[in-house]
Each structure stands twice: as structure tokens, then as C-alpha cells.
């Protein structure tokens, strides 16, 4: 074969030349035929070497050459294709090999794996019997020994499955190196909602096998401490340990569970009692709803019985920042993940001035956290936003103004009604130009301007995306289609009481994740238990809220005067809970770690909103409640919203909360 090949190779230029010559002949003949015949003899003389009788031989020769050339070209292309597939298979088998070597210590021979990969690729390639390829010599024996590589684009269906069965039956001593390409419960996304669903599924379906696929490198963790507790930690190694102290003195990690809680993806198919496996640093790029399977970014495919999409979102960016160029971008942080916390912590220690753009939950919490730090380090902390006051879209104006004053006492320079027009980098400093002409110079920007829900899979899966709220549109039971549920930040769901909405809070992720997990195991329950949220802005201001809390709604606020006992710190100390929402459902980090003594009480003006309750009304029905510096009364608030009644006198309703009491 090789001799033939080289012979063909030598003939190739000649063949090609002849082929082009023949083509030229044909075209010329075609062209000239339509024109004057006078030119023909001359053309003929130029191209045809001989006339008449020798024509036939010549035609035959040229024809044969063309056919030969065509065969050669076809063979080359096919060979290249095969070599390419082998190469890809070999490359993709390497990380698995390495992972195995790192963990197991003893494992199958890498060359054997590679050979299997090629063998399987071989069986799929349409051309060339294996005997022609030197690599394929062990195709026959290797098929029976090794479990195949799952991340073969070709190696999926029948050949792979039979190989797996053989290997599984044969190879009980060696751990299977392959990905589980079938997961009964597949959870896309490794955040709070996903973890809550995993817990729920495992609790309700004994021996359930749950696979979480996340594009982050971290195991599931909780987000609230990243903008609160972790910043108040005294431990210099906090960026590594990610542990924080709760108010009751107990320390915990932001990770929901340590790694020993999970099993590895490889063990999933064989684990006797099932378990939860997390596949990190892998992104799901395509979803085939008809075939009940997904494709990862490394071309591996995983099929499922039930699937949860809990992909959360990515931080939004301001257009002006996006277009501002690399110098500005390298000095901008979009805050969401552990890595963002680590880098912002590092950056904030080495600069003189930092600006937070955004006046909502995240922006205000970060500004307060950085402001606290500024008292030691002399860091200038600026916060700017288009609204009139902090939390302007959540709190009624009077409360928003009051909050802004409190934020200022935390050491933050607040610039309200600020619209960013442009950002440039000059002399290693950022210059932010506002629409009203003000100029702010700073070293680093943190943009906290919202979350863009991640709906990348909507197109391939054919799932509906909501145009009002963003996110995947699901029904009241969080179901998008048969066998597909969506939970957490990415879910736009129907709330039976409050209507269609999309909620971006931690407790909602827990509640919706749990519900999705229940429904994936056959519960068929709608979203009914209202989730809550909370925020702490310094030691004096903390609130819990539930329902629709939108400052554009009419509100009724009932306030009492706050005493020193009514602060977030006092609340947790008294109830003995380390975490405010523990008294609700599960452990979730919350309260800000205040300095040992609360800040001296601000001279109380006549309108001091120390503590109270604020009702948000829609068509005279209470749809949202804020418990302002009043804690451990969320069940009452939840009940009021659940009832959905029209109350004539909200002061009477406020009595239910006993706001004067601790």
C-alpha cells in the first residue's frame, strides 16, 4: 500500500497537470465551439499534440489520469479525516488519563486507552478497513479490555455501550475512567438552587444518582457572605479558607458541604446508594430535548431522565464600561463569584480609591464592606447610582434617604443621581465623567448594575424565554417541559399569589431549588412557600423582606422608635441563631459582623425610622412586607401575604408584629 501511495504521489503532479490540461481543453473547446471555426485549427495545433488516430489513445490516457487523480484526492481527504479524529480522541483522552493518574494511582494503561479511542474512532470512520492503518492493530483485542472514552464524538451509541457493559462486567477492580454518560438526575449549574435540588432529590428518592455540571471550578457555595461576612473577617487567610464567623461564634465555610459529601462522577453509575457528583469546569453548550441529552464543551454527551437548569446569570455591565477599552476594563470588577471576591480583596488593599457603581443590594453591601475597611486603610470609597438614594428601587423614598445617610456614616462617599457618561484611563487613574458634568477620579471600579440571566440553552433546547423579566419561562411548578425544570435566578415562574416573576435572592434559590427537586421526584407542588430576603447595611440597619418589594408601589409604614436592642447584632445574639434565616429554613449566612460596640446612636430627629414594618400594596392587597430592624417575625409576614386579603386598617395588621417588643 505504501508503495502504491508513493507511486501515486509521484504521478500526482503529472495527473494534476493532465487533469487541469484536460479541463482547459474542455472549456476552450466549449467556448470556441460557439464561435468561428476558423480559430479552431490554431487552437487545436496548440493543445493537441497529435491529430487524428492518436486521439483515442490520448483521450484514454488523460481519462485514466483524471480518474486516478480523483481516487487519490478522495483517499487523501479520507485519510486526513481519520487522522484528525484519532488526534482529537487522543487529545481528549489525555485529561482523563491525567485525572485518573492523579486520583487513582493505579489505572489502565494510557496507550491502551488511546488505542481504544482510535479503535472506536476506526469503527465509526466510513472508509478504510482497519488493516490498512498501523494504529488499528490492537483494535480487536482492545475492544474487549478497555472501557471506552466517553468524550468521543463518534463513540457514543451502540459500540460504546456494548464496550461499557463488557468492561463493567469484567473490570470490577479498576475504577471506570469514563464520564457517566447517563445521569438519572442531571442538574445544570452548580449554585445554590442546584445544591438545594440535589438535597431534595436525595432525601425523597432513596439511592438517587445526581450529577451536577458546573462551569466553575468550585463546589457549590453560598453567595451572600461574599459581599458581607467575608469582608468582616479578621483572618488574613480568609481568601483561601473562605470561612467566616457567624454571630454565635460558630465558624463555617461558604461551601455548602465539604468535598467528602460528594462522590466523583466516575463513581456515580456504580455507587450502591447513589450520591451527588459534581463535574466542575465543564459547560453545557447544547441541549437535545427530544433525545434527552446534553452536550458539554468538550463534546462529551450526557443523557438524563430528569434535568434541572439552574444556570443563574452573569453580572450586567454598563455599556460605557464595555466600550471603554482594555485599560478601563482591567480596572473594573464585575462581582459575582469567589474569584471576583479574591481579586477585589487583593485590589482593594493596594489602591487609594475605589468606586462602586450601582445602588442596589450588591452595590450597597459592597460599598459598606469596603467603607468599613477604609477606616483602617484610608481607602476612599465612592458609591454612585442614578437613583436618589441607596436601595432607591426597593425602599420608599423616605426610607431610602435615611438608609443613604447610614451608608455615609459607614465611610462611603455617596454620589446620587449620577449617570455615567464616559470612563477613560489617564495617568494610571480612571476618570469617570457624569452626565451632569461632574468628574470622579478613582483607581478601580466595581460595577453592580444587575444580573443578566443565563439562557444560553434556550435556543438549542427550544425553551421559551420571558421577554418581561428575562430567564426561562416556566409554570407554577417550575417546569419548562416534560423532564425539564428551571430554578433560581434563571427561572421566570408563575407565583400563584403574586403573579409571574423572577427573583434573584438567595432564599428563593433555596426554596425554588428544593421545590424543583421535589417535583423532579414526583411531588407536583406549585411555588407556594414564599421566599424571603434580607440585607444588612452596617450595624444599625438591617431588614428582612418578603414578596414584591418595589418602591413604585404605594406603601404604608408603621414605625416605633429603635432602642439599642434593635439591631441585627442584638437580634441574632438574643435568638441564639447565627444566621437570620435559619429560624426560617436552612443555614444561610447573614448578619453583618459589627464592631464590638454599636455606633453611638444618631441624635434622634422626630422622624427616626428605627424599627417598623412597611407594607407594599397592589390594588389594596399587601403583596410585600419589609421588617425594618424587626427580626424573627417572618412567619407572620408570610401568612399575611399568603392570605392576600384586603385589610382596611394596616395599623391593625402591624400590631401582629409586636414591633415594640424585642
Amino acid at each position: 500500500m505504501l508503495k502504491c501511495r508513493s507511486a501515486w504521489g509521484k504521478l500526482a503532479p503529472f495527473a494534476r497537470g493532465a487533469a487541469t490540461l484536460q479541463r482547459q481543453n474542455v472549456t476552450r473547446t466549449g467556448l470556441t465551439n460557439g464561435r468561428t471555426t476558423a480559430r479552431v485549427p490554431a487552437a487545436h495545433m496548440a493543445t493537441w499534440p497529435a491529430g487524428g488516430g492518436q486521439n483515442h489513445l490520448y483521450v484514454l490516457l488523460v481519462g485514466a489520469t483524471c480518474v486516478g487523480g480523483a481516487i487519490y484526492a478522495y483517499r487523501t481527504v479520507k485519510g486526513d479525516q481519520r487522522r484528525y479524529q484519532e488526534r482529537i480522541a487522543e487529545i481528549s483522552s489525555r485529561p482523563h488519563r491525567r485525572a485518573k493518574e492523579a486520583t487513582a494511582g493505579l489505572h489502565a494503561e494510557p496507550p491502551a486507552q488511546e488505542v481504544v479511542a482510535t479503535a472506536v474512532a476506526e469503527s465509526e470512520a466510513p472508509v478504510d478497513p482497519p488493516s490498512e492503518e498501523p494504529d488499528a492493530r490492537s483494535a480487536a483485542p482492545s475492544e474487549t479490555t478497555q472501557p471506552p472514552q466517553a468524550d468521543e464524538p463518534a463513540a457514543e451509541e451502540a459500540p460504546a455501550e456494548t464496550l461499557a457493559e463488557e468492561a463493567a462486567g469484567r473490570d470490577s477492580a479498576q475504577p471506570s475512567p469514563a464520564l457517566p454518560w447517563h445521569a438519572p438526575y442531571l442538574l445544570i449549574g452548580g449554585g445554590t438552587a442546584s445544591f438545594a435540588a440535589a438535597r431534595s432529590i436525595r432525601a425523597r428518592d432513596p439511592g438517587a444518582r445526581v450529577l451536577i455540571v458546573t462551569d466553575e471550578a468550585d463546589l457549590p457555595y453560598m453567595r451572600p457572605p461574599l459581599s458581607k461576612e467575608l469582608w468582616f473577617s479578621d483572618d488574613p487567610a480568609v481568601t483561601d479558607t473562605l470561612r467566616f464567623k457567624q454571630w454565635n461564634g460558630k465558624e463555617r465555610s461558604i461551601y455548602f458541604q465539604p468535598s467528602s459529601f460528594y462522590i466523583t462522577p466516575e463513581e456515580l453509575s456504580n455507587a450502591e446508594n447513589g450520591g451527588v457528583a459534581v463535574l466542575t469546569s465543564k459547560k453545557v453548550v447544547h441541549m437535545d430535548v427530544r433525545g434527552n441529552k446534553v452536550k458539554l464543551d468538550d463534546d462529551a454527551e450526557i443523557s438524563y431522565d430528569k434535568c434541572l437548569i439552574a444556570t443563574g446569570g452573569v453580572p450586567r455591565n454598563l455599556q460605557v464600561l464595555d466600550r471603554a477599552g482594555d485599560e478601563v476594563k482591567s480596572r473594573t470588577t464585575l462581582f459575582r463569584k469567589i474569584d471576583d471576591f479574591r481579586s477585589l480583596d487583593k485590589v482593594s488593599r493596594n489602591i487609594k480609591s475605589i468606586t462602586v457603581i450601582g445602588g442596589g443590594f450588591l452595590g450597597s453591601e459592597l460599598a459598606c464592606a469596603l467603607g468599613r475597611r477604609s477606616q483602617d486603610s484610608g481607602l476612599e470609597v465612592i458609591q454612585m447610582f442614578p437613583e436618589k438614594g441607596n436601595m432607591g428601587k426597593v425602599l420608599p423614598e423616605y426610607l431610602s434617604n435615611w438608609t443613604t445617610e447610614k451608608v455615609k456614616t459607614e465611610g462611603v462617599k455617596v454620589i446620587s443621581e449620577a449617570l455615567v457618561k464616559s470612563v477613560t484611563c489617564k495617568d494610571d487613574q480612571l476618570e469617570i465623567k457624569l452626565k451632569d458634568g461632574r468628574l470622579v477620579k478613582t483607581d478601580h471600579i466595581v460595577a453592580a448594575v444587575g444580573l443578566e440571566p443565563n439562557v444560553d440553552l434556550a435556543k438549542s433546547a427550544g425553551l421559551e424565554v420571558d421577554s418581561d423579566f428575562g430567564g426561562y419561562r416556566v409554570n407554577a411548578e417550575l417546569q419548562a417541559r416534560s423532564n425539564i425544570w428551571v430554578a433560581g435566578d434563571a427561572a421566570c415562574f408563575y407565583d400563584i399569589r403574586l403573579g409571574r416573576r423572577r427573583v434573584e435572592h438567595h432564599d428563593h434559590a433555596v426554596v425554588s431549588g428544593r421545590l424543583a427537586g421535589e417535583n423532579m421526584t414526583g411531588a407536583n407542588k406549585p411555588y407556594w412557600h414564599q421566599s424571603m430576603f434580607w440585607s444588612d447595611l452596617g450595624p444599625d440597619v438591617g431588614y428582612e423582606a418578603i414578596g414584591i418589594v418595589d418602591s413604585s408601589l404605594p406603601t404604608v409604614g408603621v414605625f416605633a422608635k429603635a432602642t439599642a436592642k434593635d439591631t441585627p447584632k442584638a437580634a441574632t445574639e438574643k435568638s441564639g441563631t447565627g444566621i437570620r434565616s435559619e429560624s426560617e429554613t436552612e443555614d444561610v449566612a447573614s448578619s453583618a459582623a459589627a464592631p464590638p460596640t454599636p455606633a453611638p446612636a444618631v441624635a434622634a430627629p422626630k422622624d427616626d425610622y428605627g424599627k417598623g414594618v412597611v407594607f407594599y400594596l397592589r390594588d389594596k392587597v399587601v403583596v410585600g412586607i419589609i421588617l425594618w430592624n424587626v427580626f424573627n417575625r417572618m412567619p407572620i409576614a408570610r401568612k399575611i401575604i399568603k392570605d392576600g386579603e384586603e385589610h382596611a386598617d394596616l395599623n391593625e395588621v402591624a400590631k401582629l408584629f409586636n414591633i415594640h417588643e424585642d
Binding site: S200, N248, E251, P258, E397, W528, E586, D587
Partner: protein, 150 residues
């Protein structure tokens, strides 16, 4: 005396302690304890154990989940005089399993005690890895969530 103010669409009421002394006349709808939509406590209306109760933390879902479920079910349905006395084997299995994961189940002396959920909250020591609540005996906390305030 209470005093009221209107700021645009927002109404603000300041009340003293005396103003709120009289009991509320606001009417709340009575709860249906058998409502299937509601979050259930540890024990379901039909007497079964709610393994998904947040009060159990990760006990029923972790690596030792099945052993825990067996042990606790045995205890729950036990009709012996000393409740759970026939369940020693199950509890032993569970303990053995938990010893294999010291990170998840910090070792305590009285793991075999029959009062599992209560104990779980006690065993949540400074490690605090699992997500169990640190409130009082858990069978009480969840059902009260849905009760009306008086």
C-alpha cells in the same frame, strides 16, 4: 399617641407602645394543616417522616443517608417500651458509616442516642459544616411557621 404622615403615595405612621397594646382586630384566614402545598414539618399528616424537612439538614441526603433513614424509621415506628431498642443494629450501621466521614459528621460520644434530630443540632459544633439549623428541637420549629400569630 400615633401620628400619621403622607409623602406622595407613601403613608407613614408612628406608633407608641401604648397604641399597640390593644389586640389586633386584623383577620387572618385559618390554616389548613393538611394543605398539600404547604411546607411540612418533620412528621407528615399521615404519620410518615418528611425526609426533606430542612430540620434534618443533610442527614437524609448525604453519603450516610440511607443508613440514617433506616435507623430513624425504625425508631419512629418502634412500638417497644423503650422506644427504638430493637434498632440498635441500624444505629450501629449508621455510626460506622458516619465515622468514615468525620468531616461531615463530627464525632460525638452519644451518636447512638435515640433523639436524632435534636441531637443533630447539638452535634453541630464549631465545624458547622452541615446545614442543620441551630435552633431548638427541630420538630417544633417548622410546623409553627404556618401558624397564625395571636
Amino acid at each position: 399617641m400615633s401620628y400619621c404622615r403622607q409623602e406622595g403615595k407613601d403613608r407613614i405612621i408612628f406608633v407608641t407602645k401604648e397604641d399597640h397594646e390593644a389586640p389586633s382586630n386584623a383577620e387572618l384566614i385559618a390554616d389548613d394543616p393538611h394543605d398539600p402545598y404547604e411546607e411540612q414539618g418533620l412528621i407528615l399528616p399521615n404519620g410518615d417522616i418528611n425526609w426533606n424537612c430542612p430540620c434534618l439538614g443533610g442527614m437524609a441526603s448525604g453519603p450516610c443517608g440511607s443508613q440514617f433513614k433506616e435507623a430513624f424509621s425504625c425508631f419512629h415506628y418502634s412500638k417497644e417500651e423503650v422506644k427504638g431498642s430493637e434498632c440498635i443494629d441500624h444505629f450501629r450501621n449508621m455510626q460506622e458509616c458516619m465515622q468514615r466521614y468525620p468531616e461531615l459528621y463530627p464525632q460525638e460520644e452519644d451518636k447512638e442516642s435515640s433523639n436524632q434530630p435534636q441531637e443533630k443540632s447539638a452535634s453541630d459544633s464549631t465545624e458547622g459544616h452541615s446545614l442543620s439549623p441551630q435552633t431548638d428541637p427541630v420538630p417544633v420549629s417548622s410546623p409553627t411557621e404556618n401558624q397564625t400569630a395571636t
